[in-house]
Point group: C2
Chain length 262, copies 2
């Protein structure tokens, strides 16, 4: 019995030259045929942006003299749309986005380009995984997160995922032997206590720079944020139906039709 090789699409939001995607693509090649299609430069915190008013360009990107993948002048969601709708000859069996440099937990999920690539894959019918390493330190070691992504991708390829669901994975940036286990989590409610630095440029004109610190307002063990803080790998199934069904059931009594009368 011959096993058909998996067709794997790899993308990210840190850009095609980031070490995280290099580690990920290297691992994924052990599992199947990999195509890398990723932004030409860093596109963090771009949310689920797509490019409609400008053209997209794709160019071949080489690493150490070898063809590595396609660099796209666009967002992570653009890369995945273009890959699946145009560049790839066949639909991939699985999409893996990452390894992101920095966590994508709690409120960060909605700003995340890494998650956005996986969301676009899911919309287009591809089982998809977003994977992040929870450190902002310089030159982190992406190898274990990439290895874990490969094993999880193998499991997902075998079992499938529900039609509109992707997996958002966060791996703590510690030694493998310190990892306590894997926890299936919900998106925590922890958010940013933003502040803006008000500065003046050399021409004495004001500008603002976003900064701030995390406000951990959800300390429950079943959240993504707390799982990684406690040295667990966090896996959160997420989806893109934003309907608030609890409120939907209640809000009918608001008599909105009255607003139509003057």
């Amino acid at each position: 019995m011959t096993k058909k090789r998996l067709k794997i699409l790899v993308s990210n939001d840190d850009g095609i030259d980031a070490p995280g995607i290099q580690a990920l693509a290297g691992e994924m090649k052990k599992l199947g045929d990999v195509t890398v299609i990723a932004p030409d430069k860093q596109r963090s915190a771009v949310g689920h942006a797509i490019t409609m008013n400008y053209p997209l360009r794709a160019s071949k990107f080489y690493k150490n003299g070898e063809f590595f993948g396609y660099a796209i002048e666009g967002t992570p969601a653009d890369c995945v749309k273009l890959a699946i709708r145009s560049l790839l000859p066949e639909k991939p069996d699985i999409l893996v986005s990452g390894v992101n440099h920095g966590s994508n937990t709690a409120i960060n999920i909605i700003y995340s380009g890494t998650v956005s690539a996986a969301t676009e894959g899911t919309i287009l019918g591809i089982p998809s995984i977003a994977i992040s390493l929870t450190t902002y330190g310089s030159e982190p070691d992406f190898r274990y997160a990439a290895l874990f992504a490969r094993k999880l991708a193998e499991m997902v390829a075998r079992k499938g995922l529900p039609e509109a669901t992707l997996l958002n994975v966060n791996v703590p940036a510690i030694q493998k032997k310190e990892i306590k286990g894997v926890r299936v989590t919900r998106q925590g409610k922890t958010r940013w206590d933003d502040t803006f630095d008000v500065r003046r440029d050399p021409n004495d004109k004001e500008y603002y720079w976003l900064t701030g610190k995390l406000e951990v307002i959800d300390t429950s063990d079943d959240t993504d944020e707390i799982a990684v803080m406690n040295n667990y790998i966090s896996i959160t199934p997420i989806q893109y139906d934003l309907t608030d069904y609890a409120t939907l059931a209640k809000i009918h009594e608001w008599k909105f039709d009255k607003l139509l009368r003057d």
Copy 2:
């Protein structure tokens, strides 16, 4: 008894010079004290992007010789963060984003800058409304949608909204007398059947341009898409917890801990 005037923040994603935000701000002034803080130019389909790696600038924007609001070199979410965290002396009582030129229903919600502004307001604790006029025709009449937004904002200011919920409103672009009523809806599953035009620039280099048509795969009467098609105003309560709780309950049996062993 003196009623305290409402403090209202108005933003959008079509840019501060768009006619939709002018109509909206004009109506909102009948309800309270309005501050307009909006992108300096069109920022459609930017999703929930925020700017972290570049500074933001705010400049005063004048319309017909009068101060209209602050133009921000950033995304809709940037505008709302900067407004609430830095520019405004007090937290606004309500945020209204729009009137968008074009519908924000079904899958479009997750790409929408208009909705993103309202989402950011909700995250920051402000009852928020996104409002869109469902036409892509040129020079549409935003007046009725703006008037409806004002009436709804009055209702929301009185009743409040659940902590993490915003209202996404779509108004069909028809005469007021043709509007059949208001429907409380869920986000439909209708999505884009994307294609990319492959073209060549004057230097004979290839580029890609996103196009496509809506694929109406969810024709249920309780969806936003079908409500506006049938001449109803659609109001969808939405939230930003992306956890797929149904899958979360099931996926525990997957034995992810096995992936940690070699």
